[in-house]
Amino acid sequence: MKILKITALVLLVAFVGIQFIPTNRNQSDTVPKTDFMLVNNVPASVQNTLQESCYDCHSNNTAYPWYNKTQPAAWFLEDHIKEGKAELNFNEWSEYSDRRKNSKLRSIISQIEDEEMPLDSYTFIHRDAKLSEEEKAEILQFIKQLKNSL
């Protein structure tokens, strides 16, 4: 019993302790002119879905709910944001060449079709980010249309 108490206390102290380790927040007040939503005519519902399910890791601004400001979730997120932005940053969309846009759109389509994105580990803590069948169909339709118009 005592061991249990001590373990719980240790974990609690560690949990509180790690909250003081600083993390780099991915936050920005301005949306650059090169943003995907600003340069493409994106339907409002698709905009909402992209914002909710993709922009946390694929833009310069993450909407942090309290649990994502808490360690160790914040670390987990930090790494994924770094990787996610390197792979695709919607904020920098119009800076991509047409060739690259085409590649990115192709990857968006297959990642959504194969249900690899949004990541399970992310939708596990961020339930709203999970794409419903309708949202998926809607995004895919728009992205495919955009790809064909390139």
Binding site: I6, L9, V13, A14, G17, I18, S97, R100, S110
Partner: protein
């Protein structure tokens, strides 16, 4: 006294735990080193000295084409690991590509192509087979466009399979006349036709 001991041990433990958790291990992927620059010209195509610029450019693209073909052969054999290894090498080949012999307009186009191709090579180096094939499709387009600018001294066939990617079709480059489809593996080994001969 006992209380003190417990408190101290709790503190020590906590600090240790803290140390562990804050040491996030960063995976450092060793970039695959390109193989020796020794090239095989199986077709025995000789270079004319009058076309010096062309031969310089070919030397530049030779390692790129070689590792591209390694990926192609690995995908024909549905060998994910070999495709991944060659993908890593191709990524460094593209990064080392010297654009300086080309006009500024060509350089701009080459930059576009290479930026895109590096990403596909990188993905091939770390993805499962079907993803490798998707990226190989786009990589093939990049390389075909690149060779249109740089030229090559290799004899190549541009093949085309109309069925890949939900019948949108996909091209690839090969050194042999015989069709060996990298997109479907053994399922549809002979699907495709020669679209164009390079050289």
């Amino acid at each position: 006294m006992k209380n003190l001991k417990t408190t101290v041990s709790i503190l020590v433990l906590s600090v240790t735990l803290l140390g562990f958790t804050s040491c996030k291990d960063k995976k450092t992927e060793e970039a695959a080193k390109p193989m020796s620059s020794e090239m095989h010209h199986e077709d025995g195509h000789s270079q004319t000295s009058s076309d010096k610029m062309m031969s310089e450019a070919s030397g530049n693209t030779a390692s790129i084409i070689e590792n591209y073909l390694k990926i192609k052969n690995a995908l024909v054999a549905s060998n994910e690991d070999e495709a991944a290894t060659a993908g890593g090498m191709l990524e460094s080949n593209f990064k080392e590509f010297d654009k300086s012999p080309y006009s500024s307009e060509e350089q701009k186009e080459l930059t576009d192509i290479i930026t895109d191709a590096i990403e596909h090579a990188e993905h091939i180096s770390e993805s499962p087979l079907e993803h490798q094939r998707e990226h190989f499709d786009l990589l093939s387009k990049d390389l075909i466009d690149m060779i249109a600018i740089t030229g090559t001294d290799k004899k190549l066939y541009q093949d085309y399979c109309p069925m890949y990617n939900n019948n949108k079709g996909a091209a690839w480059l090969s050194t042999t006349k015989e069709i060996k489809n990298p997109y479907f593996g053994s399922k549809m080994m002979n699907c495709g036709k020669i679209q164009k001969e390079i050289n």
